[in-house]
């Protein structure tokens, strides 16, 4: 265990000052005001996968790694739609998932927003329409914002979330 703490001290803080950090600082006040007014100080996201390849989920998990540490921005992922402000939707809205996605959306207390991520839910990716696909998501849910990419990198997701916060 002593070895571990030595290594820990040696490594220091890993969390990166992304290039957008300056921008971040500038709008952090804006976010805070917005978040305070609309989200009581913190933005809670419920991630729902409606049929992705799992790359979008991997990138969302990466948001919690020491480099990105999303929670320092007051944005965090929650376990239930009933705790959420925003649904972050990935995947291509499969025939089998669509009813469950709608149900999850219904469970989010208002006011609520849907952000789609990745090319799939916008039907802009490589997958073509089949009987089992019900994308684009905007046919089924009121989509407030879209984060492009296949998959969007963690940095692009953070930028996308900021754009969303500015928008509303």
């Amino acid at each position: 265990m002593i070895k571990f703490w030595n290594k820990r001290l040696e490594l220091g803080v890993l969390t990166e000052n992304l290039e957008l950090d300056n921008e971040l600082k500038a709008i952090q006040k804006e976010i805070k005001d917005q978040v305070k007014k609309k989200f009581a100080g913190s933005l809670a996201i419920r991630m729902v996968d409606s049929g992705s390849c799992n790359a979008c989920e991997a990138e969302c998990n990466a948001l919690a790694n020491p480099y990105y540490d999303l929670e320092r921005l007051g944005i965090y992922f929650v376990a239930s739609p009933r705790h959420a402000d925003v649904m972050l939707l990935s995947g291509i809205m499969t025939f089998n998932m669509t009813p469950h996605v709608k149900e999850a959306y219904a469970q989010i207390p208002a006011p609520k927003w849907v952000i789609t991520m990745g090319d799939c839910p916008a039907m802009e990716g490589v997958f073509e329409k089949t009987y089992a696909i019900k994308a684009p998501a905007k046919d089924h849910l009121p989509v407030a914002h879209h984060i492009k990419g296949c998959p969007p990198s963690p940095k692009e997701i953070i930028e996308g979330l900021l754009e969303f916060l500015r928008k509303i």
Partner: protein, 455 residues
């Protein structure tokens, strides 16, 4: 004889049922108007899902099957619709009448059901788990999937093999390189060409890099599910480093589009340096994690899959190797020459699966060092010949099997069996002696794909 896969294809006037074993392939022709076959599930339990899928996809009747419930088609799927038949051309479906699914359930005094999913608490893929509980003890688990079914098999029909690649590499994001390598081998068979050694090394390097990324993520998440979050912080840092290397080498964090027939630049000096650092970090991780008794108290004897059951259920990959089954598609001269040593454990529990992953990370680092080579070899492809082709690859989860029929230059039938498809069917066996709170840990220790399974 190990059972690998069973699938159907539609010919002019008949259905062909293909059963793939370790060293044999069985083909059975049946009439289209009376499509009836006998089940293999009595001998190979893993055949159940293949047969239920066939029943949904083609309307093939498994006469003596004891489980005739639909598999891919869920409650709202229209009745008597078999989308993989050639005469099915619809691009959208109307929801049919809601028919409840009959879950496997143990009933009795004080026994209750716990339904989990399809949407789970964490950031993971959707799937359903139905538990029969006696207090905390799990009596039975039914794994129910195919929420993510995208109709990939149908989507690829009618495409040229080269055009199909962007879709194939996105079937399962964690195993993209492995899917691409299977695709590559099919292209090579169809063009009757051999891959130059330099390209083979590059691809093998990327496959091991993908394995490292996936395994490191798991090495963090498995302890995290046992309540030890610090391991996740440590391991997710290492896996992010590896993912950035993937971006540096292939231009994509998941290696989408990485496997081609031209060799690209690799900065060997910096990669070797990184591999060295990575090995040291993993050693430090191992020394730290092995020394935490409360963690191993959770891991040891949790979620045991016995050798006997692993063999019976045709398990593959990390799950099989942790139960003492010696199978790995990398057991061949090319890999052995580059330092491959098969990782293996015998206890079959969560700790065995954790240790197998750890061993494989070390071995992958060693092999990657041996695969590094500066080279600009290119291979120009000749024309693709029609035919039936199949290939295997050891993905980070296990043995991947892909088969493609090409007719008149386009894909007539595409089928892929993700390692998860067989391993999911063995997951319920691991629950026998554990409590429901152990389920997330057991599930994560197998870390199977939902997307690759559901297609």
């Amino acid at each position: 004889m190990r059972f690998i896969a069973r699938y159907a294809k539609e010919l002019e006037s008949r259905f062909e049922i293909v059963t793939v074993y370790e060293d044999a392939i069985d083909k059975e022709l049946i009439a289209k108007d009376t499509p009836v076959i006998q089940t293999l599930a009595k001998k190979y339990p893993a055949a159940i899902w293949f047969e239920r899928k066939m029943q949904d996809d083609f309307g093939i009747i498994i006469e003596d099957a004891f489980d005739k419930r639909p598999l891919v088609h869920q409650e709202r799927f229209p009745k008597d619709t078999h989308p993989l038949r050639k005469d099915f051309v619809k691009k959208s479906l109307q929801e049919g009448n809601y028919v409840p699914y009959k879950y496997e359930a143990i009933k009795g005094d004080g026994i209750f059901q716990v339904a989990v999913g399809p949407i789970h608490a964490g950031i993971i893929e959707p799937g359903h788990f139905q538990f029969s509980q006696a207090g905390e003890d799990m009596l039975h688990l039914e794994v129910r999937h195919f929420y993510k079914n995208r109709g990939i098999e149908k989507m690829l029909e009618g495409k040229k093999l080269l055009e199909a690649k962007p879709i194939i590499e996105r079937i399962s994001g964690n195993e993209s390189i492995a899917y691409q390598i299977c695709w590559r081998d099919i292209v090579l068979q169809a063009t009757q060409q051999k891959l130059p050694l330099a390209l083979q090394k590059r691809h093998a390097f990327l496959l091991e890099l993908e394995r490292i990324i996936h395994h490191l993520t798991d090495l963090g998440f498995i302890p995290n599910d046992a309540g030890f979050g610090a391991a996740l912080a440590y391991a997710s840092k290492l896996s992010e480093d590896a993912r950035r290397k993937m971006q540096e080498i292939t231009g994509h964090r998941f290696g989408f589009g990485a496997i081609g027939f031209a060799n690209g630049f690799m900065d060997i000096a910096s990669i070797s340096e990184w591999l060295k650092e990575l090995r040291e970090s993993v050693v430090a991780f191992e020394e730290w994690i092995m020394d935490i008794p409360s963690l191993w108290d959770r891991f040891d004897t949790t979620g045991i899959l016995s050798l006997k059951k692993a063999l019976k259920y045709s398990s593959v990959g990390v799950v099989a190797r942790a139960s003492g089954v010696t199978i790995d598609r990398r057991i061949n001269p090319f890999y052995l020459e580059h330092g491959f040593v098969m990782a293996s454990e015998v206890s079959g529990d969560a700790s065995a699966r954790f240790k197998v992953r750890l061993e494989e990370v070390y071995n992958s680092i060693l092999m990657m060092e041996n695969f590094l080579e500066e080279d600009d070899t290119q291979l120009s492809l000749s024309n693709l010949q029609d035919g039936e082709y199949s290939s295997f690859c050891e993905s980070s989860i296990g043995e991947l099997f892909m088969t493609v029929d090409i007719k008149d230059g386009i894909i007539e039938r595409f089928f892929v069996r993700d390692p998860s498809f067989v391993n999911w069917q063995a997951v319920h066996l691991m629950m026998r002696k554990d409590i429901i709170a152990d389920f997330p840990l057991i599930n994560k220790s197998c870390d199977l794909s939902y997307a690759g399974n559901d297609l």
